[in-house]
């Protein structure tokens, strides 16, 4: 299943969930109504007569329906709203602490390296990593709404008992949750369950309230009512949990399979699972909030339930056997990682795969899948493979130490971004530097000067990954610091009175992503499901792309080739000449395109790629523009690999 298909499936599953959830609410309403009628009748029946027609009480029905809906909907919507504000909230809820990008702890550093490799290999921004310091079990989770605000959480136990390969397997498993759109599903699940739980909670507080009041005459009915709500609420939750674990178990197998696909190393993941089996604390999470998001963990975070049906994860042995059919069911004894041994392992890995020098400065980029059938491009999305991870590691290793270090602390990360913005033209660069000298901090300016010589040696294609790499550090800026940073970027970009493509990408992506730190994004609920609604935008973007990579006549042809993909569906696109492209407001178009449904997005990316490879060569500029498009569409495209 490719990225778009699984995104689509995740959304479809959501509608199925809504249906289940609606049914649950329906039955709860009926049950509450019956129970209330019964309570009322039993109180009246002391007077003797019994009248079946009393079971029909429209007033009561309206009250029950609206009361239940208010409670359940507000509970669900509230929880979803809280979780929507980003994965960081979930991580913090579980007692996770952000691992600072510049951490010097060996285990933390190793984990950050693995996450960086994996993120760059799959083309998503490097997610912040949270450590659950107090948890001794081996576990991890991914949370967030989109790849953009995703975070990864991991326990101290996992950090110190797993070796590098096993840890990579776990991280790959979590990344596949991010890429498969599982977090989207998770969020809805948690929200729905919370709505049902709220009924039970209200029942409980009624029970408590009335047991305190001594007025036993009136409280009889209230106690009964509270009890009914409590029981029904919990029954609802019970069914919710059944749905939740049913869905979650399937997703776990899928994530395991994708993780193996990414790393092409089933032993790593299997090793991690075996260690969970062999460890006394297993994968237990002690934080009491763990229940709520139990299905988001790498392995079962709760004490073994007496009924397998409630387990959110498939049995450990079964998962291992799928990865390693030779497994005999006996878990090995677990010894914690020794720092010295772990360090040796890392160097050994390095020796085995000597960092190949990537050929320098080639403007023509070959792709893993060549232009033979551009339609295949979308199959690459969301599915990094071993080669991507290795090439990401090579790229990271090839970065000068000073640059790598600067990118990993919030202070130096700004300098890295400023350096990326410095113009090739020495006159413009001089003016940009002058601007930095006067309006940036003196110390930042010095740091920029210091790393500049190293930045100049960078390969062109390391520039965008470097931006991704600096992201987690940049996120720790305060709002005030961010505003200043934004102003400086803006003035640096504008200093030569023209905005180059790279400048635009950097500014657009950095600012958009950081802004989400401070304001919860106003994600519009409108989904553009048909190409027809975005003909103009799609025409613009494809014309731009055609004009960037080709001269006039060939541009028309390239555009026509791309437009053909939409014509199959009976939509005619309008070609814009180079001149007409000049006046386009790219920001608005990209924002609009971000609303496309997965299906349309897939078509657009296929078309754009078709346009890209029209003349069988891809220039750096084209490649970067294509990446901008992919960024704007929130689509994780693995980096190009040169052959």
């Amino acid at each position: 299943m490719d990225f778009f298909a699984s995104q689509d499936a995740a959304r479809r599953k959501t509608s199925l969930l809504v249906l289940y959830f609606g049914l649950a609410v329906f039955f709860i309403i009926i049950a509450i109504y019956l129970a209330l009628t019964f309570i009322l009748l039993s109180q009246q029946s002391r007077t003797g007569q019994f009248d079946p027609s009393r079971f029909w009480n429209p007033d009561l029905l309206v009250a029950v329906v609206s009361g239940t809906l208010i409670v359940v909907l507000s509970g669900s919507l509230y929880k979803i709203a809280v979780l929507r504000s980003g994965g960081a909230r979930v991580a913090e809820m579980l007692g996770g602490k952000l691992i600072p990008a510049g951490s010097r702890d060996f285990f933390e550093k190793r984990l950050l390296n693995i996450v960086e490799e994996m993120a760059i290999a799959s083309g998503v921004p490097v997610p912040p990593v949270y450590l659950m310091e107090k948890e001794k079990g081996i576990n991890a989770f991914a949370a967030g709404f989109t790849p953009d605000d995703a975070v990864i959480g991991i326990t101290r136990g996992a950090l110190e008992t797993l070796n590098r390969e096993e840890l990579q397997g776990v991280v790959a498993h979590e990344f596949s949750h991010i890429l498969n759109g599982d977090m989207w599903l998770d969020l809805k699940l948690v929200g729905f369950l919370h709505g049902l739980l709220l009924i039970a909670l209200i029942g409980r507080s009624i029970l408590r309230g009335s047991s305190r009041s001594r007025d036993s005459k009136n409280s009889g009915g209230a106690v009964l009512f509270g009890l009914v709500l409590l029981i029904l609420g919990y029954i609802g939750v019970l069914f919710g949990k059944l749905i939740k674990s049913g869905v979650a178990r399937q997703r776990e197998y899928l994530a395991d399979a994708s993780a193996v696909q990414f790393t092409r190393n089933p032993q790593g993941l299997a090793g991690a699972l075996k260690k969970i089996g062999g460890l006394a604390s297993g994968s237990l999470i002690e934080n009491n909030k763990a229940e709520e998001i139990s299905h988001m963990f790498f392995s079962n975070g709760l004490k073994a339930s007496w009924l397998g049906v409630f387990s959110t994860h498939p049995p450990l042995v079964e998962r291992i056997i799928r990865l390693d059919p030779a497994f005999n069911g006996i878990f090995p004894k677990v010894i914690p990682e020794q720092v010295s041994a772990a360090k040796a392992e890392r160097t050994e890995v390095k020796e085995k795969q000597p960092a190949e020098k990537i050929p320098k400065g080639a403007a023509v980029i070959a792709l893993t899948l060549l232009a033979a059938d551009p339609k295949n491009i979308t199959r690459e999305i969301g599915t990094p493979v071993r080669e991507h991870i290795e090439s990401a590691r090579r790229m990271l290793d090839s970065l000068p130490q000073q640059v790598r270090e600067a990118a990993s602390d919030p202070f130096g990360a700004r300098a890295v971004i400023y350096c990326l913005l410095l113009d090739k033209d020495s006159d413009v660069r001089g003016r940009q530097k002058e601007h930095l000298r006067s309006s940036a901090d003196k110390s930042v300016f010095e740091a920029t000067e210091k790393i500049l010589p190293y930045m100049l040696t960078l390969e062109e294609e390391s520039r965008l990954p470097l931006m991704d790499l600096a992201m987690p550090s940049l996120r720790s800026m305060s709002l005030e610091q961010f505003r200043r940073f934004e102003d400086n970027i803006d003035s640096m970009v504008r200093i030569d009175e023209r905005i180059s493509l790279f400048e635009f990408i950097l500014k657009h992506v950095v600012v958009r992503r950081l802004e989400r730190n401070f304001v919860t994004p106003q994600r519009s609920f409108t989904v553009v499901d048909s190409v027809r609604e975005a003909v103009q935008e799609i025409s613009c973007i494809l014309s731009l792309l055609a004009n960037i990579g080709h001269d006039d006549d060939r541009a028309v042809q390239a555009f026509a080739g791309a437009a053909a993909i939409f014509e199959q569906e009976g939509v005619k696109l309008q070609y814009l000449t180079k001149k007409e492209c000049k006046g386009i407001k790219l920001e608005d178009i990209l924002d609009r395109l971000a609303e496309l449904s997965p299906k349309v997005t897939q078509a657009l990316i296929t078309a754009a790629f078709q346009c890209l490879v029209h003349d069988n060569r891809i220039t750096m500029k084209e490649a970067e523009f294509f990446r901008l498009l992919v960024y704007a569409l929130d689509t994780p495209l693995p980096p190009w690999i040169k052959i």
Binding site: S74, L98, S103, D409, G412, S443, L479, Q481
Partner: protein, 199 residues
């Protein structure tokens, strides 16, 4: 539908939304609190780096400054005090006494470091020492990072403190003991700028 029912429904709705409103405030405060705690982690990393560099610096200086034992010992002592103060503060960045303690220890350390560097001026050989040059360069870089991280922390603390004071957040803040957090401000004038280590 009877008026009794309508009243009951409205009552229910008001209670539910009231609860949600309070929970929202509570969550907002927690979020802001976590934000400044995370900001402290950045200071923590850089200060640790600073405390690691100082013994090396003193070790290098020892070979040249035979007669300044006192100052060197004072630097090490101040460094150790600051280091333990930081451990306390990093255990709970929301504890204003711990932060206050760290501010005091940091100011003292910066003061003694300043004295050390003033003395170094009198030892041209030491000034020209490769190791010494590298260490002080790195120390300056670390100072810059500390002051940047401190600024981020103070902004986050300020946002939290403001949020917990305004109505109706202050009701929730008092109910759940959201204490006022302490800014990390360096009192000594000399520390406003990174210590002068240019030589």
């Amino acid at each position: 539908m009877g008026t009794g029912m309508v009243v009951l429904l409205i009552f229910l709705a008001v209670i539910v939304f009231g609860i949600l409103f309070f929970v929202a405030i509570y969550n907002k405060l927690i979020q802001l609190k976590n934000r400044f705690k995370n900001a402290f982690a950045q200071i923590d990393v850089q200060l640790k780096r600073r405390y690691d560099l100082i013994p090396n610096l003193v070790e290098t200086a020892k070979g040249y400054m035979k007669h300044e034992r006192e100052v060197l010992e004072a630097v090490i002592k101040a460094r150790n005090q600051a280091s333990s103060a930081m451990e306390k503060a990093s255990a709970d960045p929301g504890n204003s006494e711990a932060i206050q303690g760290l501010v005091g220890a940091e100011s003292a350390l910066t003061g003694t470091l300043g004295r050390l560097f003033a003395l170094v001026e009198a030892y041209p050989d030491l000034k020209a020492n490769q190791n010494m040059m590298q260490l002080s360069e790195e120390l300056t870089a670390t100072e810059n990072k500390v002051s940047f991280a401190r600024q981020a922390f103070n902004d986050a603390v300020m946002a939290y403190n403001t949020a917990r004071e305004i109505f109706p957040n202050n009701i929730v803040a008092n109910m759940f003991a959201f204490k006022e957090a302490q800014l990390f401000e360096v009192k000594v004038e000399a520390e406003k700028e990174a210590p002068q280590v240019s030589f």
